[in-house]
């Protein structure tokens, strides 16, 4: 796990990795090989030319690796010494261990594959210098993501049941999925919603279930970045500053203790202020401020009358 390795070291590492890769994939094209190693075809030819000169001391035809790539397809013989891939480094081990943990949760409890994963995980941990468990937990089922990805590729429609957190409602929608995007640590599905006859964005972790509908959907109209009406607001934080800043995504201070921000939804704003239990005060807009006051009074009255 050496970041910004000097070129010669990165090249050496690649050369050592190339030998077993070509051995296992004899006849692969230079182009494919370059793509697999994430370098240009020109660099790959230069790598292969260097490798062509390597071998056991003596460096005669008998000791050199027998590498051929002039035809544009690569084969290698006489490379037994280097033909096994190298041991995994720390970053590779961690990536696999955590990836397996994530995968395991996506499998049904009775899946026989869980045992495979456990054994693999144990072997990887045993050879690792980290003895604690490395965990990866996601609230988005991997099977659901696969279903959405497949539907996007095949242009199938999706029947989704979606939880709107602002309205606190579950709705059933028929959508034509267009794209998965990651934004601010959350994953979103961009889709054309047949139910609403407009483009909608769905947070993956709020999709309760989804079923692919096996029909080719018509091309939806071109996606427009619809400028939903944003409303600016100002909040003042009284306590629990760290949580409040995260909740209201408030980076910039507008004055001593007031933060200004935009919101797409007054529902979200009202709920967020209530859920801050007095740690945050809505300064503007005034109509929402009044609504919060009335709502709180109403709830208070109900509590006190019971």
């Amino acid at each position: 796990m050496v970041k910004n390795k000097p070129t010669a070291l990165a090249e050496t590492e690649r050369l050592l990795a190339l030998v077993p890769f070509i051995t296992a994939n004899q006849g692969i094209s230079v182009k494919e090989l370059a793509a697999a190693f994430d370098v240009s075809p020109k660099q790959m030819v230069s790598d292969l030319t260097t490798l062509w000169m390597c071998g056991l001391p003596g460096y005669t035809a008998l000791e050199l690796m027998d590498l051929s790539f002039e035809s544009g397809f690569v084969t290698i013989q006489n490379a037994e010494t280097l033909q096994s891939p190298r041991t995994l480094n720390l970053e590779e081990q961690v990536a696999l261990i955590m990836g397996l943990d994530l995968l395991s949760q996506s499998l049904p409890t009775d899946s026989a594959l869980k045992q495979n994963i456990e054994i693999l995980g144990q072997r990887l941990s045993k050879s690792s210098r980290i003895t604690s468990k490395l965990r990866a937990i996601s609230n988005i089922p991997a099977s659901m993501r696969a279903e959405i990805e497949t539907a996007i590729v095949r242009k199938h429609a999706l029947d989704i049941s979606y939880y709107s957190i602002y309205r606190d409602e579950i709705s059933q929608r028929l959508v034509r999925p267009l794209e998965l995007r990651v934004d601010e640590n959350a994953e979103y599905l961009y889709a054309f919603c047949e139910t609403a006859q407009d483009f909608r964005v769905f947070r993956l972790d709020r999709i309760q279930s989804c079923t692919s509908i096996n029909k080719v959907s018509d091309e939806p109209p071109a996606m427009t970045d619809s400028a939903a009406a944003k409303q600016s607001f100002t909040v003042r934080f009284n306590s629990r500053l760290r949580l409040m800043r995260e909740r209201f995504d408030a980076e910039e201070k507008s004055s001593n203790s007031d933060y200004s921000q935009d919101s797409f939804s007054s529902q979200w704003l009202i709920r967020s202020i209530l859920a801050s239990s007095g740690s945050a005060e809505l300064v503007t807009p005034l109509d929402l401020r009044e609504e919060i006051c009335e709502k709180s009074q109403l709830m208070l009255d109900r509590y006190q009358s019971q």
Partner: protein, 313 residues
């Protein structure tokens, strides 16, 4: 550049192929690329050894015979060089490949990519048909992760500034035990050196760079330590009784222990950990959720509503 990498590859091949330790003079005589006077060859060789170690290749030093005035010898043991995952099937390769693909574009992307290349170099056909169609994914980037992972592996302390609940950056020194990712956040846990207690930190609340401090091997990480198990056991669960309006609060219903039909409302029993977080969640649902028990939570909700009225009035 290629001259140097060529020499490093040749050195690796020679040290791997040898059954006994090769002395420096043998290396200089037989491996291509060591040129110049004795001193410059020595310097070149020292640098090459360091470079191979940087790449994670273990070079053994040995072959010193006390009876003779021998030179030190060098070799690379194949068992230290080669990947050994034990007996492994096409299904296993498919699982490992899928695990690596989960990092596409995220924090451990480069390690996952090289791991995938190694899996594809093993000469075992990946049996994709044996596993269900799954697309696991971790989307988080993190710049500080590498430092923390190395510190856990080397058992070195890490030092950083961390935002307190009141958003004041405070210096922390911990012996890091484990990292984990859960629902969109990176976490790490370790023994806080000042408080002498286990503490869990969220990566995005770290206010500075994370730096290692002091020598390696300063502590022992408990075997099999599970960060999330530890985190979840910090708050013992308590039970609350809530009334929730029909058709509302789907997230609370999902985790309810029991649900009783009261007509327009349902009465649920639900477990909660941190009191503040629980009250925040209750209030998020506005007038669709009412706390019945316990009395102290109910009292606090009433106090908070009074405060909300006061500051917005």
């Amino acid at each position: 550049m290629s001259r140097k990498s060529e020499r490093l590859v040749n050195l690796t091949i020679a040290l791997l192929a040898t059954k006994r330790y090769l002395t420096k003079s043998e290396i200089f005589r037989s491996i291509e690329g060591y040129e110049g006077n004795e001193e410059s060859k020595e310097r070149m060789f020292e640098r090459d050894k360091d470079d191979l170690r940087t790449l994670g290749i273990e070079i053994e030093v040995g072959g010193l015979d006390p009876l003779f005035n021998d030179e030190a010898g060098y070799r690379i043991k194949p068992e230290n060089y080669a990947l050994d995952l034990g007996e492994i099937s096409g299904t296993d390769i498919a699982l490992l490949s899928l695990a690596a693909q989960a990092w596409n574009g995220a924090a451990l992307d480069s390690g996952a990519h090289t791991a995938l290349l190694k899996l594809k170099s093993m000469g075992i056909e990946s049996d994709l048909a044996a596993i269900p169609t799954l697309a696991p994914r971790i989307t988080l980037m993190n710049e500080e992760l590498e430092t923390v992972l190395q510190a856990i592996a080397n058992q070195t302390h890490v030092v950083f500034e961390y935002f307190s609940v009141d958003l004041i950056a405070k210096r922390r020194e911990i012996a890091p035990y484990a990292v984990g990712v859960r629902n969109g956040h990176w976490y790490f846990t370790g023994l806080d050196q000042e408080k002498k207690e286990l503490r869990t930190f969220r990566m995005d609340r770290v206010a500075s760079q994370i730096e290692t401090a002091g020598k390696p091997n300063r502590f022992a990480v408990p075997d099999g330590f599970d960060l999330f198990e530890n985190m979840d056991s910090e708050e013992p669960e308590k039970l609350a009784v809530l009334d929730i309006r029909k058709g509302k609060a789907a997230t609370l219903r999902k985790v309810a222990h029991s649900i009783k039909d009261l007509g327009e409302w349902d009465r649920i029993e639900i477990a909660y950990g941190d009191t503040e977080t629980f009250i925040d969640t209750v209030l998020w649902h506005l007038d669709d959720v009412v706390v019945k028990e316990p009395a102290d939570i109910r009292g606090k909700v009433i106090d908070n509503l009074k405060e909300l009225v006061r500051i917005h009035g």
